[in-house]
């Protein structure tokens, strides 16, 4: 997230002016903690730097299919083929839908900045 982005979104939220102060008192979205463990290599909220693959912009189906392919392939001389073998299918699906959700919203996973996008989509395939 760029700084100007941050301020713009904060302004929008501020202008809503809702007087609710429940803050963090809600369950975190499912998949968020799991998905954050990809960020060491694929960037905070799936925005990678350099030549690493960004996970943003991919649909849940795309991410899930790739992860499945790596998990069930016999190949082991590749970090992601190894990593994918560490997760259950259900966990991989949670990760995939979490990233797809961020992309769909144009959000950042941040409580201070997300929730302003208007495209909610169901998980595709």
């Amino acid at each position: 997230m760029t700084i100007s982005n941050y301020h713009a979104i904060t302004l929008i939220i501020t202008s809503l002016g809702l007087g609710i102060s429940s803050g963090a008192s809600a369950a975190p979205p499912p998949g968020r903690l799991l998905a954050s463990q990809c960020a060491q290599c694929h960037g905070t909220d799936g925005r990678a730097v350099g030549d690493m693959d960004s996970l943003r912009g991919e649909s849940a189906g795309e991410i899930y299919d790739e992860l499945q392919e790596m998990k069930y392939s016999a190949k082991t001389n590749d970090i992601m083929h190894r990593q994918a073998k560490g997760y259950t299918d259900q966990q991989l699906w949670l990760i995939a839908t979490y990233y797809a959700g961020l992309s769909n919203r144009g959000g950042s996973g941040s409580n201070t900045a997300a929730g302003t996008g208007d495209h909610e989509e169901d998980d595709d395939d």
Binding site: G17, A24, P30, Q37, C41, Q83, G86, Y87, S110, G115
Partner: protein, 436 residues
């Protein structure tokens, strides 16, 4: 994912920001939680960032770090052979402040009194939860060091990294580089072997007749065994002299003398021509949790690390204080391997800890099935690298701890130049996810 509940959640969270932004005077009342984080390395910086990123304006986060910048140990071995300069791996806290609203205090944490963190300056910081990530300290006594201040370890990156680089540059060809490896667990299991490889590679090219003598306290190579065995016996054949199972008994760092026993025999290496021609004595002393963990009573008597709960990283000794990174130890699994002390894992632990703290503020229990992972590239020469990776899953039935998933754990089949290039992409993302 249930998008309706998530949208609802985000709306609520956004509203808190609005309240705070609109009326700063309400801030103190509206805040559900104050977290103080000590240590701005891979563990602490990540925790501070994600608490704000996820917790939003509702969580006040203060990061206490004694230095103005953090010099990354990761990639620091590449400074020794002049492949990287120190500024390339030096990070400040500007992004944590400006992008995430973390309050950064430069100072040294010295103790706790009730729910206040005490700083060396005499001031104190109130907290609801405290996270400590002070990294490691050294046990010089265990190996009979006469002059700890003169020990050149370069195992905390910074001025010592440059000192070691310069000594290597200036070493007389034909002299030896002596590297000692402490008993596991220590910071970065493959790190010492990686250093041995890079130094060997450098010596071959720049110091004809020189060799590196590796004195390892462990019974054998601790990590990436196949990779490093091959590197020592083939790639760097004749330049690396590897001695496992060594017990160091005396060190005089300034005089560059070291005494050790191997297979029951005692031997001393010195700069003298007939005693090993020591040109550089690079001692990695046995390690413990950072001093602060001891000061806060987080390390039980006779132990070296701060035991924590693997779901929350809350201290097993002092409630309300969490420990992440190299200083902590999750319970040892009954079978299988536990988490290593690495920067990648410190970052992973920080997220599990931040998530658990946010849930606790919301009156909820922690995620019952956290995952972490470690990936790490090790340069073997100035243009090739290997890697090591594993994911760790919480296992309630295996001593309630994080355990490597066997199918996920492995090392590269061979060091390659592609791996060497990928190493910089991996590091850039880890650095960004931690500091930016």
């Amino acid at each position: 994912m249930n998008s309706i509940s998530r949208r609802h959640f985000l709306k609520l969270a956004g509203a808190t920001t609005a309240l705070i932004a609109a009326s700063p005077t309400l801030k103190a009342q509206a805040l559900p939680g104050r977290v103080v984080v000590v240590g701005g390395g891979f563990g602490g910086a990540t925790a501070a960032k994600y608490l704000r990123h996820w917790g939003g304006g509702g969580i006040a986060v203060t990061l206490v770090e004694m230095n103005p910048n953090h010099v990354s140990c990761i990639l620091s071995n590449l400074v020794l052979n002049n492949s990287l300069s120190l500024p390339k791996i030096t990070f400040n806290y500007e992004a944590l402040k400006s992008k995430y609203g973390v309050t950064v205090v430069q100072g040294q944490a010295v103790g706790v009194s009730g729910k206040q963190l005490l700083l060396g300056s005499g001031s104190s910081l109130p907290f609801d939860r405290l996270i400590v990530a002070p990294g490691i300290d050294f046990d010089f006594q265990a190996i009979g060091v006469r002059d700890p201040a003169n020990v050149l370890h370069a195992w905390k990156a910074g001025p010592q990294t440059l000192q070691l680089r310069d000594q290597l540059r200036n070493m007389t060809a034909g002299n030896s580089f002596v590297l000692t490896i402490p008993p596991a667990p220590y910071r970065c299991p493959p790190g010492p072997y990686e250093r041995a490889c890079l130094v060997a590679d450098y010596l071959k090219k720049n110091k004809p007749g020189s060799k590196i003598i590796v004195l390892d306290a462990n019974p054998g190579i601790v990590a990436e065994k196949e990779t490093f065995t091959k590197a020592f016996t083939q790639t760097h054949l004749g330049v690396v002299e590897y001695h496992p199972g060594v017990v160091v008994t005396a060190v005089n760092a300034l005089a560059k003398t070291i005494t050790y026993t191997e297979n029951g025999l005692s031997r001393t290496l010195t700069p003298a021509a007939n005693q090993g021609k020591v040109g550089i004595l690079n001692v990695l002393p046995p390690q413990t949790a950072g001093r602060l963990a001891f000061n806060l009573g987080l390390v039980p008597a006779g132990q070296k690390w701060a035991p924590v709960n693997a779901l929350t990283y809350e201290s097993a000794v002092v409630p309300g204080i969490h420990v992440i990174g190299d200083a902590q130890s999750t319970p040892k699994p009954n079978t299988g391997s536990g988490q290593p002390k690495s920067g990648h894992i410190a970052n992973a632990e920080a997220k599990v800890c931040a998530d658990a703290i946010l849930r606790a503020f919301a009156g909820e229990g922690p995620d019952p099935a956290p995952m972490t992972n470690s990936s790490c590239y090790s340069p073997i020469t100035a243009s090739t690298a290997s890697w090591l990776t594993a994911t760790f899953a919480y296992d309630a039935s295996n001593n309630a701890t994080m355990v490597a998933v066997p199918a996920s754990a492995g090392e590269a089949s061979a060091p390659t130049s592609d791996n060497y290039e990928e190493m910089f992409d991996w590091a850039a993302n880890l650095f960004a996810d931690t500091f930016a």
